[in-house]
């Protein structure tokens, strides 16, 4: 049923696509977490206008599909004078999408850190930025690590949507081989297996990181 010779011959192309998938998900995750953390910190602040703007951004992103964000980045932005190569259009869309979700995850982590610790840090002379960097964020990240892990696993899978605009990631490579060989079952099983290896490896890595970050918590 599964043509292992075809899978073996297709493997270099599929792995090349998997590498692009990892690049998209990795960079999307990096920019998403950076921008999302920044938004999460601002959203936990007291400036009502900024909080309202971030809420609107989150509603807009969460309420529309990622496929539309990718289409927007690739087809609409050039009409507004911003032309991005297809690879970066995908990363921009995925990063901005991820940042909205990450901001809310980080915000919940920040609110879970006791206000007493923030007050103690203030009396010790730490500035607001130092309190965020040295006291709040390390603890907030530990608290939200499982949720962030889920978000990044979703990101690896959702990066397949970039195939719509022609990014040669894993799904796209698989579809090209399938249209050439017409052996959908062999190719898509191989593609699914590669996705599974990537997401499982990430899950194991996150579990290890979680254990390491929880070493100060009494069992």
């Amino acid at each position: 049923m599964i043509d292992f010779n075809l899978v073996s011959d297709s493997l270099p192309f599929l792995l090349r696509g998997a590498l692009v998938t990892l690049q998209i998900a990795g960079l999307g995750c990096l920019f998403g977490i950076t921008f999302g953390t920044f938004l999460g910190l601002l959203h936990s602040g007291k400036n009502k206008i900024i909080c309202w703007l971030i809420t609107m951004y989150v509603i807009l992103i969460r309420g529309t599909p990622m496929l539309m964000h990718i289409m927007f980045a690739y087809y609409v932005l050039p009409q507004l004078g911003i032309e991005l190569p297809v690879f970066w259009a995908a990363i921009a869309a995925i990063s901005l999408n991820s940042a909205a979700y990450v901001s809310q995850i980080i915000k919940s982590g920040i609110s879970a850190v006791s206000s007493g610790q923030k007050e103690a840090a203030k009396t010790l002379g730490f500035s607001s930025a130092q309190i965020a960097w040295y006291i709040v964020l390390p603890q907030a990240f530990r608290i939200v690590l499982p949720a962030l892990g889920n978000e990044f696993i979703t990101l690896i899978k959702d990066s397949s949507l970039a195939s719509i605009i022609g990014v040669a990631e894993l799904m796209r490579e698989g579809s090209i081989i399938k249209s050439r060989t017409f052996d959908a079952i062999s190719i898509y099983c191989a593609v699914a297996l590669i996705y599974l290896v990537m997401t499982t490896t990430l899950s194991i890595f996150i579990n290890q990181l979680e254990k390491r970050m929880n070493r100060h918590v009494k069992n």
Binding site: S114, G116, Q117, E119, A120, A121, K122, T123, L124, G125, F126, Q130, Y134, I135, P138, Q139, R142, R215, H216, V217, K218
Partner: protein
């Protein structure tokens, strides 16, 4: 000497501190005593710039203090009721972080200060432990050490024995007395009469944001009626 003059703080429409005036000499302990919600902790929080001061002035050695900068100058230090230790850091890092990042000390110098203080407070072997691995008494001592490391002139302790058993209360009383003996101005907010019995201090009875009576602790504990009055006052059954 720490001198508080006519300090008033309002939350919304409620006066939480009403014309508070008191002075505490170096090496002396002032205890703010009263039941919950009378403004004891608020006074300590105002002095530590955790709440806005409405009116009034605070002087340290006749020099007027700008309460908005006390955290940066480390003039006044605070030991919190729930300790508020940094749970993701080790015992030693709880002390060295502010020394390195706020006072720009080298890690070696900060380490030396931390070890010296931890040794004096019986926590030397706990330097690499995390906060969750400490007992209540050890957490209390670490909270005091963390404040002391920054060398404040005034140390405020908010309900220092509320989370401790009677044996540890005796130990903490000894520590507070020691702080005063080292020349710190010590301000304690408490409703724990058992702690007072073990301290040589001035007691300021507080009610509805006001100091309604001040006297040496001996005056309360050497007189049976006064002692009963004190207990009733803390329980909220007497006007003082």
């Amino acid at each position: 000497m720490l001198k508080i003059k006519n300090l008033t703080t309002v939350f919304g429409t409620k006066k939480v501190l009403d014309d508070i005036s008191l002075s505490v000499d170096k090496g002396q302990i002032a205890v703010l005593l009263g039941s919950s919600g009378v403004g004891k902790s608020t006074l300590l929080r105002v002095l530590n710039n955790l709440e806005k001061c409405g009116q009034g002035e605070v002087f340290l050695d006749d020099k007027k203090l700008d309460l908005t900068t006390v955290n940066q100058t480390h003039t006044i230090g605070m030991v919190f009721q729930n300790f508020n230790l940094f749970e993701h850091l080790t015992v030693e890092q709880n002390i060295t972080l502010a020394l390195e990042k706020v006072q720009n000390m080298t890690p070696e110098k900060a380490h030396d200060i931390a070890i010296k203080l931890l040794t004096s407070y019986g926590l030397k072997d706990k330097g690499k432990s995390y906060v969750s691995q400490l007992s209540g008494g050890q957490k209390q001592r670490l909270a005091i050490v963390r404040t002391l490391a920054l060398k404040p002139n005034v140390i405020c302790l908010d309900e220092p024995t509320s989370a401790l058993d009677p044996l540890l209360t005796t130990y903490v009383a000894g520590t507070i007395q020691e702080l005063a003996a080292q020349g710190f101005v010590v301000l304690v907010a408490t409703h724990d009469v058992m702690l007072l019995e073990k301290l040589s201090c001035t007691i300021h009875l507080m009610k509805d944001g006001k100091i309604i009576e001040s006297a040496d602790s001996k005056a309360f504990f050497n007189n049976r009626e006064q002692y009963k009055k004190l207990n009733d006052f803390v329980a909220g059954t007497q006007e003082a």
